[in-house]
Amino acid sequence: MSEKVLMKGNEAFAEAVIRGGVRFYFGYPITPQSEIPEFMSRELPKWGGKFLQAESELGAINMAYGCGAAGGNGFISSSSPGIALMQEGMSFLCSAEVPVVLLNASRGGPGIGSIQPGQADYNQVTRGGGNGDYKMPVFAPASIQEAIDILYDAPALADQWRNPVMVLVDGLMGQMMEPVLMPEPKKPLESADIPTVKPWAISGSEKGTRSVVKSLRLQPEVLEEHVEHLFEKYGRMEKELVRVETENVENAEVVFVAFGTMARLVKEAMEILESQGVKAGMIRPISLWPYPYEAFDKIGKNCKAVISAELSMGQMVQDVKLGVEGRWPVRLIHRVGGMLPTSLDIVEKTRKILEEVR
């Protein structure tokens, strides 16, 4: 294993996914993740990979589909409005069971919004912004190292499940620098090996079988059977892919639930609260789908309130309520528009909430 190096988030994300086996990148520039296509255009060819600047996010997601359908390990990245434009494609990829790794560096919305960090794409990415019944795993790292580890594993995970896998970060994580360890590069899948490694992929029928990758199922009974097959798969994902970090939830008087950048701010606030004699804990979902509902069962009897801390008007709070199941009062601390609360803001709001629920 190599030495720790100081890396900027966006470049670290790109390098990690290459080391994880990605050899095809398609993207359309959008702040705050444009360093990813820039990095890919420079670096991917050195790894024997191919970079292409797509004509739009519609182009990019459908290139990702063609790449995955053909058996290649593809990666695409964008930010909120671009991810919105890709939703028809995501639904199509899930329906056709085509693997790809996606990264959303989410920004302030709605509309074109702002380029500052936001978490208001939570519903879009966890509920499926596209049409129909489908799901995709969504991971929300809170440090660059954690993002690296997730992105490094993501191509294999997408292949294993034959499903898109999304990593949700925000502009702050893309722009900041942290010392990180890069994992050893994995052996990439060569085109010549695709017919044997992924016989379902379209690589030419001379492999001995004819492959068809498709989404249309006009007969209702056939489509119903397919959707039930997908949900059998999603059910297994719900058992196997939950990732969460919990801290002090057993004894805490107040339990925060936060992911990504917001979890970092909450962590600072927790230290201040501790110094003021308030026992605080945190549930940090790393997988946003499947959601770690079981983590809420660890909350102890001293708990007075569960606080969902979000950079949105309150989207994850719905999942928090599902996890809490009426056992404790649920409150929201939030900022939007690209604004971040300070740790002191969080402390102050928390103290108010505790007074109110006492």
């Binding site: 459908n62 030419g204 498709k214």
Partner: protein, 247 residues
Amino acid sequence: MKAVFKQTQGMLPVSTSYCPGCTHGVAHRIIMETLDEMGLLGKAIGVAPIGCSVVAHQFMNVDMCESAHGRAPAVATAIRRVHPDRIVYTYQGDGDLASIGMAEIVHAAARGEKFSTFFINNGIYGMTGGQMAPTTLIGQRATTCVDGRTREQAGMPLKICELLATLDGPAYIERVALNSPAHIRKAKKAVRRAFEIQQEGKGFTFVELLSTCPTNWGLTPPKAMEWLEENMIPYYPLGVFREPEVK
């Protein structure tokens, strides 16, 4: 006994779901016969559009995928990168290619992507029941212009070969028609040319095939052939719009 005709291995032994007199079947057959004759069936990868021919993979005996409406050129762009040694083609209708998918086809052509596109221009949206297409002729009736398309209301039909021929990217562009045995023979030659140029790695190849839709045109199959001859060919002249440079 000497066999005078053999069905191509390129078409699966099933009947198509296309309407009587629709030329999708003819287009499928000449493309697949060509791949068969060139010995490329095992190496070909096709991309089906959204439109009547979304089901092309039920008839074309090669590896295939469907694609979202209009995006086949983006899909093929990536397939070609994953498998640089394969023969890749898209098969697209006029709604798919010339309306919703205009950005994808123009950019793939401009990039000189090394795949072939077969563009089925029947001047109407077949699958959704006969609405106006970007290629519907002035005066032609459709369910969203029941008195005939007018320039005032809907603008002018798009001439895709001419439009793509303004780009430097494409290697080969030809327009053919599927309304007579002579035209079909010429069309097959154009299909072969497209695949040959792709095989030589010379870049993007495009064949527009003027086609019929008797069901949505409200004509019998023979009348549809005549209508194509009398109305479409004058507006969409047949011919080669781009040839690879001879070096």
